[in-house]
Every structure is written in structure tokens, then in C-alpha cells.
């Protein structure tokens, strides 16, 4: 039976791991290579690196980070943040990444999904969607934001998820901007809606605070994987503790 994945996310800026609250107020949380090694030993199922570096010089540092990490940990690695074209993607895959996640560039230029999938296979292309709720009645509606959550697009998140998959995305990394950084639980309704709407795996992101949050995202949200950052970086819970908790509650987990 396929197990549910527990995925620590490392937001990397100029070679350091940082994590913000609702996309602002960054705090230093450590060295990405050391953290990756720790997560590997604790039994993480995958690692996601989001490069939030703004400058081209800083961008080279994430390549170095991926190269070092892939020499030391033998698990799937996904890299995203600022990837604009197929050659950016290739650079990350050659550095040792297994998958690339694209967000802003895909919204601005949807054909990038098709090109990436044709070159590297759908299994390599993760569509990252930052969604914010804009209506709650009669039906909830979520809008896609780009440029690190700075820019609304007017695009419906559910339609965009479907379109991305039709273009060749093999997985959806779904972040609720409303929930992200607050550690008060994932947006279950958003996760459930997108997960039911697309035939590919969905990674729920944003809002993990206690182990039950992850449980609810998997069971009620129907997510295939859950991403968390702060609760792992600051050692609120170890990966092992979370996995044990989920396993005891009947979730298929790799222990």
C-alpha cells in the first residue's frame, strides 16, 4: 500500500533556511545541508527546497545546496522558487533534484508546464499553487497568487490546478496563504476540493501546528502528502513523533 508522505520544506535564502509567517518576518532556522541530513535520519519521505533568494548570485547558492544535499541524503528532492524556463529546470535536475516546482512562471506562461513535462516527464513537474480564499458563499472560491504571494491573478485555483495537470504537471503542491505560517491547521476545504478535482497527487501545505493537523489534511483533506516547515525546524515535533502518531491513527506510513 502506498504510504502517505511527510515532507519537511526548507525555504532557502542565500544558502540559509528561513521560514516566515504569512510570507513576511523571516527568522533564521539553520543550515540546509545539516537540516536535510537530520530529516533524512528522522525518516522524512521527501524534502522540498523553496528558493526565495532574490538575486542571481544568491541563486547559485541553491544549486550548491542541492548538490551537497544529494551527496548525503538518498531520498527524493524537489526544488522550486524562481525557475523561469526549461534550462533553469535542467540546472536543478542536474544538481541532483528529482522534481522541480514551478509557480509564477507557469501562471505567466502556462506552456512552460508542457515544455518541462515533454523534456523531463510529468513526474518531474510539480505545479505549486498559492491560493487565498476570496469568497465563502454560496460556494468557497480561492484565487491564485503569484510572486511569493504578492500578486493576485484573478485566476480560480481549482480551474488552474486542473489546467496545469492537463498541460502535464504530475503533482500539485498546494499552499493555503490564509493558513500558512499560523500553525492553526491546514485549509481542509481547499485541500479536499483540489485533491478531488485532479487525478495527480496533492501535497497539502500551510498551517501545520500539531500532529492532528497533518492527520486531518490526509483524512479529511484527502491529501497524498503533507508538507510542514516550522514544526520541524524548531523541533516542536520530530518527524518520527509525527509519523508514529499518524501510524497509530491508522494512516499508512513508512516507519
Amino acid at each position: 500500500m502506498l504510504t502517505k508522505r511527510i515532507i519537511p520544506c526548507l525555504d532557502v535564502k542565500d544558502g540559509k533556511v528561513v521560514k516566515g509567517t504569512s510570507f513576511v518576518q523571516l527568522r533564521d532556522a539553520g543550515d540546509p545541508v545539516a537540516l536535510s541530513r537530520q530529516y533524512y535520519q528522522q525518516g522524512a519521505d521527501e524534502l522540498i527546497f523553496l528558493d526565495i533568494t532574490a538575486t542571481p548570485e544568491g541563486r547559485d547558492t541553491v544549486v550548491d545546496v542541492i548538490e551537497s544535499v544529494s551527496e548525503q541524503v538518498f531520498m527524493p528532492l524537489t526544488v522550486g522558487g524562481g525557475l523561469r524556463n526549461v534550462s533553469d529546470m535542467r540546472r536543478m535536475l542536474q544538481a541532483g533534484a528529482d522534481k522541480v516546482s514551478i509557480n509564477t512562471a507557469a501562471v505567466l506562461q502556462p506552456n512552460l508546464i508542457r515544455e518541462g513535462a515533454a523534456k523531463f516527464g510529468s513526474q518531474c513537474i510539480v505545479i505549486a499553487i498559492d491560493a487565498k480564499q476570496v469568497e465563502d458563499r454560496p460556494e468557497p472560491r480561492w484565487e491564485v497568487y503569484i510572486s511569493s504571494g504578492q500578486k493576485p491573478t484573478g485566476i480560480n485555483a481549482v480551474s488552474w490546478a486542473k489546467k496545469s495537470v492537463a498541460l502535464g504537471a504530475g503533482e500539485v503542491l498546494l499552499t493555503s496563504m490564509d493558513a500558512d505560517g499560523h500553525q492553526a491547521g491546514y485549509d481542509i476545504e481547499l485541500t479536499h476540493t483540489i485533491s478531488e478535482a485532479v487525478p495527480v497527487p496533492v501535497i497539502a501545505s500551510g498551517g501545520a501546528g500539531v500532529p492532528e493537523d497533518l492527520y486531518l489534511a490526509l483524512v479529511k483533506g484527502k491529501a497524498d502528502a503533507v508538507l510542514a516547515a516550522s514544526i520541524f525546524h524548531y523541533s516542536t515535533y520530530s518527524i518520527g513523533e509525527i509519523k508514529k502518531y499518524l501510524s497509530e491513527r491508522g494512516i499508512p506510513i513508512r516507519l
Binding site: 502506498l2 548538490e67 538518498f74 523531463f120 487525478p199
Partner: protein, 204 residues
Amino acid sequence: MIVIVDYGAGNLRSVTNALVRLGYQPKITGRPQDLSNARAVILPGVGAAADTMINLNQLGLIDPIRRFITDGRPFFGVCMGLQILFTGTEEGGWHECLNVIPGQVKKLPDGQKIPHIGWNQVKQQRDHPVFSGIPDEANFYFVHSYYGEPEDKRLIAGETEYGTTICSVIARENMVATQFHPEKSGESGLKMYHNFLKLIAKGS
């Protein structure tokens, strides 16, 4: 010399890193003559089957790979490196493959998320040296949408459940192929490469 076949696709770096961790210094090459000198060949791969066959053909690698396997020399195919051993695949219309293993590559059945991404258990169907020290039903990392069905069921060394029973490990003497990625499967994956490479040390 251990050769990792470079045909312009695939995550070669991860396979290389895994072998380096185990103390080997593999050669990454796409030259046919390097295969004839190799003590073992690893064929990694992601992406589409048709592209893989086109790339191998352009590099003149089709016959050298076939010969390497039929000569009974140590060969390890990973993911797409398993699928292209079959007679053909239905991925993107029917495409002929290497036909080292009679059988077809089919799309995973509907009813669950596709691609099959994540860690899943491998049920060992019989003893083989590659399983040495790896518990039955150990988890390995999968990422694929198609799977191979060998006509000769005796080739199936490991199986995995995902909507149907997938042949996840093929083994025949010195030929091993896995649908999952050992280089991404933590310590169990490293152990599997270690076991495979010990086949060479034995001179078999």
C-alpha cells in the same frame, strides 16, 4: 569498471552519489565501447520510453545493451531502465523497446492517483542476492505511470500493490531491474545497490 549509462536524460547524479557513498567510482558514459569493457552496467532513467529508445539508438547503445544482458553480465535497470527491457510499451502509442524480456509495459489502472508517487512496499517473491539483508515488505520510492508485465512470471522477484499488482523487481541471474529508485530509497536502496555490486566481486 562500473558504467552508468548516460543517454542525455535521467537523474544520473543521484545514482552516481549512491555508488560513491558505497565506495565505488562509477564511470558515466554513453560510449558503446565502454559497455564492452564494463564489469557492470547500470541503466537509470526517467522521462518517456519513446525518447529513451531514440536516445539509445542515436548513441548506438541498443545492441551493446542487449548483448551485455544476454551475455549474462551484471546489469541493473532503474525505472525507465526496467521498462525499456520489455518487448514494447503502450506509453504514447505503441513503441517497441529492447525485447530482452518478453512482455508489455502498460498504463497503471484508473481509480487511484497517477503517477504512483511515494514509498510503497516490495513483497519479495523469491530469494535473490539483491534482497540480502533487506526485510520483506521494505519500502522503496516509486514514481511512475506505467508498469511492465513479463510473460515469464518466474522473472518476477518483487511485487508491489497499487491498484493492481505491479512487478517491481525483475531478476534473472545477473540481470536486475527495479521499477522504484534505489538511489532515492534510503538505506534499503543503498543496500540493494551494494548487494548487486557484490555480484561482481564474486566474479559471477
